[in-house]
Symmetry: C2
Subunit: 294 residues, 2 copies
């Protein structure tokens, strides 16, 4: 396997995720070795800041991206899902021979339908979803720490080289991820509709249904914890929700049904049923936490 400390890494998009991954690779992978980090971003102020901070070596304007790509052994496409597909289609001829290209898209179904058309050059594209983030956006809020103990999902394609998947797993372990999951696009999107998208919808709806913004003087931590992710990147999440519409709607339906059941128990002041259900839910959540620690 190639020595990760000696490679040239390229980032297409240096926002919160690209910036955090670049920082983590700088701090945890390139401590010794001659490896370099390049980035292309439409915001030249971001590039200058990232050079100043010692995170990247060289910045490129979008129109210079080919000049960057032809030098990179590993490319992280850290753009919105639709932009990612456009970028891969447009730039696929310019990736360095033998290079490994990867992404961070939060939905995989749409990308999956384009992969046969994209995977035509002498490079390997491994689709992944690093399950980490922040309610704050942009390189300014990037942090190498957000990946600690997180899940890294890989959605392999039949054309992917096993050594590239193995390389990515090693690299991402160094970055901080502790659990590597391989799955298909369909399963990924169904699970993510629940763990990520439904949670963002619920948090947003909670804030939406608050009668005023003074409510937190009556907060005890629960409301604050549940709604932190409602400080949402609206264009990104609207795209994610609508790209995974059917699966998300399924999960909203199940949630509504369960809420309706609980509401009925409250309406009927059915102490026994409600208490038993809450006991079951508590046991289920504790079991989830236990599995999570394995």
């Amino acid at each position: 396997m190639r020595d990760a400390a000696l490679l040239c890494y390229g980032f297409a998009g240096l926002g919160l995720m690209g910036g955090s991954l670049a920082q983590a690779i700088r701090e945890k992978v390139l401590t010794k070795g001659t490896g370099r980090i390049f980035a292309v971003d439409r915001n030249s102020w971001t590039l200058a800041g990232a050079i100043d901070a010692g995170v990247i070596d060289t910045g490129f304007q979008p129109e210079e991206s080919r000049r960057m790509l032809e030098q990179c052994d590993v490319v992280f496409v850290c753009l919105y899902p639709k932009q990612t597909i456009e970028f891969l289609k447009k730039e696929r001829m310019f990736f360095k021979k033998g290079s490994l290209v990867t992404d961070i898209s939060g939905v995989k179904g749409t990308l999956d339908t384009h992969l046969d058309a994209i995977l035509t050059g002498d490079f390997d594209f491994v689709s992944t979803h690093p399950m980490a983030g922040s309610e704050k956006e942009g390189f300014t809020h990037a942090s190498a720490q957000i990946f600690a103990n997180r899940n890294y999902i890989i959605v392999p394609h039949p054309k992917n080289k096993p050594e590239n998947i193995a390389f990515l797993k090693n690299l991402m372990t160094a970055v901080g991820f502790t659990r590597m999951i391989e799955t298909d696009a369909e399963t990924h999107d169904a699970k993510i509709a629940f763990t990520s998208q439904l949670c963002h919808i619920i948090a947003s709806v909670l804030v939406d249904s608050a009668e005023d913004t003074n409510i937190t003087s009556f907060g005890g931590g629960s409301f604050e914890d549940l709604t932190r992710i409602a400080m949402i990147n609206a264009p990104l999440w609207t795209e994610l929700f609508l790209s995974n519409r059917e699966k998300l709607l399924d999960r909203i339906d199940s949630f509504e049904k369960s809420l309706c059941r609980v509401k009925k128990m409250v309406e009927e002041a059915d102490y026994a049923s409600l208490c038993r259900l809450l006991e079951d839910i508590r046991a289920k959540r504790i079991e989830m936490g236990r599995k999570d620690k394995r």
Copy 2:
């Protein structure tokens, strides 16, 4: 004002909240001075543990509670809401002359209707709701730290002595609370139905609607954060929900309406409306955080 370091404190109930308050008073108020802490609890193992840990000086069995109460300058009734009312009714003749009695009940409406009958002896009862807690129960999980930067709600009664309210505010500031809110029982219960009760319902429903307990391998932190409070103390929360039924049902209704609106936007793939709504929600949540820091 009386010197808090010289007083005798009594706890009726040494669970998570009673235990945490006792620890905080021990660590932050009784560092110097001759003050003591007593506690009555039905679990004699808890009392022995609290003495061993140096948190309380003496423990009392429930049948000995009068012997404790007659010595205490300040009494914290840290029981479930209904038990609190029963305790106050049963023991009100035995509080020390001039003592200050307080509670921690998460609903105030029912208690409020009993107060005229309770407030008949030569003691003052100030009803409060320390907005802090944990998803873990019992003295074993008690911690003096849970009150740091939290809200302390006081629901004053016309009979309360201003000096006792002032004393409590000072004491609770020493314990760690940073914001003191005075309100009436009606307002308290309406606000708490949203910030606390609805959040516990939502978290529980999210866990309930999960198809299996393996789902956290696809988690990125959001699901985990949103559902931590679903590790709920079922009997306590069932009582809280049902004691505040109408107000809670109102809040569930508003939440359902808002969820329905968002769902419709997703169904209709209405990018513009959904993105605009999420922008508004983001701004609302950021404003809440800003007010919270004041």
